[in-house]
């Protein structure tokens, strides 16, 4: 691999040069040639474009200074694999499910449970898939390399060594959700984890994936994660992401989805943790008649910052996309919704809607919302809207006048606001799990549980 040189960087890229100098050169060794080349090109991309700043339209509301101030080192495999069974149990939705566990971005077989899989379902680590030259990886990676939107996805390419690899054969239906649990453990040193996961759903296959991010211990961690999902014709994938890392950490993530004809994809996310979260979803509706639904619930409080970025590209005709994002912002929390729908020429009969609603629970809470539509064809049905408000004082008075204590009434109304997202989760065990997380969060926010919340 050609070495990268950091000579005389332009001011715009000096932050990138500093970051790369600290993080060092990418891993090499066992990379297939195409990956070695991809890493090299990704670093060149970072050096050419620099890190995003608030002058970039899509980064207007997110300051990265706090992240760049921390001297992160790249995490290595096998440093810490000590996780109490009870901790893991609490993080999984279904204890008997197929589960792949990662610590600092590296697969840990001892913590995982992959035994019950049939031959037409593959769940393994990216490293293992790369080692045995699994099909589809090069094309998935190479598509992504052409279109970095910003330096962080490029940095993931540069530094990733592991992640999850899921492949479902044609016409295969996986009944129970597959759980991916990403744990960070800083061990006193600020660490960067760069997991890269791939989900390949064959024609008419069906699978659900639950992605959980949490930490074993508090500390400065930076998760820079990418998940690629490719749905073949008629495939259906349901994805749920729970982000609950400690608020000393940083979480940047991209979910990149490519949909074939008649495929169906859904993703819901629940953002609870980290100091700064930037959760990005990019969906390419490339097959005719494909459908996608992207939901998000974000609950920044204290000094947390949760930035949600959604880009849905209608490329093929007669595709349908729905977005529903809801923010509950408390303390000095800052929530951002930056949603974009692009209907390209030829994507006739597009049906797209986008809704963002926000609840501000404190006078210091802040929301920035930017629902955007860019339409380059005539035959479309698109709607979008955004709303920001406080708890309804009249509803609070109504509940209190019936004897419900103030804090319980606030919690009741806040739950009701979030419920619209949770009700759309089909799996009952998953819904119960996230309801419990939400209940915990809302009662920890000073709401009195008071026996009134189930």
């Amino acid at each position: 691999m050609t070495p990268v040189t950091f000579t005389n960087p332009a001011p715009a890229t000096s932050a990138a040069a500093q970051l790369l100098a600290v993080l060092g050169l990418p891993p090499s060794g066992s990379d297939p040639p195409w990956l070695a080349q991809a890493r090299y090109e990704s670093l060149e991309w970072v050096m050419a474009h620099g890190l995003p700043t608030r002058k970039d339209e899509d980064w207007k509301y997110t300051r990265l200074d706090a992240l760049l101030d921390v001297p992160f080192e790249r995490a290595e495999a096998g440093v810490s694999n000590q996780v109490a069974p009870a901790t893991l149990e609490a993080l999984t939705v279904n204890p008997s499910s197929t589960r792949a566990v990662f610590v600092n971005g590296y697969f840990v077989p001892d913590l995982s449970s992959l035994s019950d899989l049939k031959g037409d379902v593959t769940v393994t680590s990216l490293a293992a898939a790369l080692a045995r030259g699994a099909t589809g990886l090069e094309s998935v990676f190479s598509r992504a390399f052409d279109q970095y939107d910003h330096a962080f996805t490029a940095l993931n390419t540069a530094f990733t060594e592991d992640g999850a690899y899921i492949q479902i054969a044609a016409d295969t239906v996986v009944d129970e959700p597959i759980e991916l649990v990403f744990l960070s453990d800083a061990q006193g040193t600020p660490l960067l984890s760069s997991p890269h996961s791939v989900i390949l759903a064959g024609p008419r296959s069906r699978v659900s994936v639950i992605e959980t991010h949490a930490a074993i211990a508090d500390g400065a961690t930076w998760t820079n994660a990418v998940v690629h999902v490719v749905l073949d014709e008629g495939a259906r994938v349901d994805h749920f992401k729970i982000q609950d890392e400690p608020d000393t950490g940083f979480h940047l993530a991209l979910l990149d989805v490519y949909q074939g004809p008649g495929s169906q994809f859904s993703s819901s996310s629940m953002m609870l943790g980290s100091k700064i979260v930037r959760n990005e979803v990019h969906v390419h509706l490339e097959g005719e008649g494909s459908r996608v639904s992207i939901d998000g619930l974000y609950l920044p409080r204290g000094d947390q910052h949760h930035d949600n970025v959604v880009l849905i590209e209608h490329v093929a005709p007669r595709c349908v996309s729905h977005q529903l994002y809801k923010g509950i912002v408390d303390g000095h929390g800052h929530g951002v919704f930056n949603g974009r729908i692009i209907v390209w020429p030829g994507a006739d009969g597009a049906d797209a809607n986008q809704t963002n609603k926000n609840l501000l629970l404190s006078e210091y809470a802040e929301i920035d919302t930017r629902p955007r539509l860019e339409i380059f064809t005539d035959d479309v049905k698109c709607t979008h809207g955004a709303a920001v408000g406080a708890l309804d004082e009249e509803a609070l008075f109504y509940l209190r006048s019936r004897g419900v204590p103030r804090e319980a009434a606030r919690a009741l109304l806040t739950h009701a606001f979030a419920r619209e997202i949770l009700e759309r989760v089909e799996s009952e065990s998953l819904r119960t799990h996230v309801e419990a997380l939400l209940g915990e969060r809302l009662s920890a926010d000073g709401f009195t549980k008071d026996g009134t919340l189930q």
Binding site: R400, R402, G451, Q454
Partner: protein, 260 residues
């Protein structure tokens, strides 16, 4: 005296809405408060329930205790209930869950055991009959998409489940057709008891054909300007509120609002 109000003033900003209300209501009595729009009737009800939008002055004692020292939820726990003129829609909160939460909050504060779902459903089904509501109401969000009549029936249902000592009914008849009015009124009448008082606020004499009051008060300009027996309502029906401005209508020898 269950409720004693003395020289009650209430304002929002510079707008003084109540200008010295005096009223006494004893247990077992039903008092009607009538008066034109803007006379302060609804404000009086809201102030008694603890709405925080108002600055208040004066004395309000409920069973001898200072009502203003209590939060709205504490007033509810003491036994005050307001049937809202405009019941609030609360999407995402189920009626059953809401009512059980409310009842159990009150029971806890009163030192009683909480009801489990089955016990609560049995109680609710019994009470729903009296206002001719069916089970499906319990599964809907609180007041969401309810018709005007359904909202008012839901208020009376809540009252019958929460069993207050003092019920304030704010324009419970407004927007009801004659059938709905009859249902609501019979629900209210079923709740009349020697140890319970009711204050019925209405714009129309019509309601008082169904809920016969012990006392009738007339409000105008933020005060009670006339008090009398149930015949006063008929008199108002005949002469209208416009006569209220006439000095002769006010009997100044008796403190208005006070029970003689």
């Amino acid at each position: 005296m269950m409720l004693h109000i003395e020289n009650l003033h209430a304002r929002i900003g510079d707008n003084e809405i109540l200008r010295g209300v005096n009223l006494d209501v004893a247990a077992g009595e039903v008092h009607a408060i009538m008066g034109p729009n803007g006379s302060g009737k609804s404000t009086l009800a809201n102030v008694l329930a603890g709405h925080e939008a108002y600055d208040t002055e004066g004395i309000v004692l409920f069973e001898g205790e200072d009502l203003f020292a209590l939060s709205p939820e504490d007033r509810a726990a003491s036994g005050v209930f307001l049937a809202f003129q405009h019941p609030v829609e609360i999407p995402g909160v189920g009626n059953l869950y809401f009512l059980r939460t409310a009842l159990n909050s009150l029971r806890r504060r009163r030192g009683l055991d909480e009801l489990d779902v089955m016990q609560f459903l049995a109680l609710a089904e019994d009470r729903m009959k009296s206002v001719e509501m069916d089970r499906s109401f319990m599964n809907r969000s609180v007041n969401e998409g309810f018709s005007g009549g359904e909202k008012k029936r839901n208020e009376i249902l809540q009252m019958s489940i929460l069993e207050p000592k003092l019920a304030l009914l704010d324009e419970t008849d407004s927007g009801l057709d004659i059938d709905a009015l009859r249902i609501v009124a019979s629900g209210v009448n079923a709740l009349r008891r020697p140890d319970r008082a009711m204050v019925v606020i209405t714009h129309h004499q019509r309601l008082l054909d169904y809920i016969v009051p012990d006392r009738v008060h007339v409000m105008a300009g933020g005060r009670i300007v006339r008090s009398g027996g149930k015949d006063l309502a008929l008199e108002l029906e005949e002469y209208g509120y416009s006569e209220l401005g006439h000095a002769g209508m006010v009997d100044s020898s008796v403190p208005v609002g006070a029970t003689p």
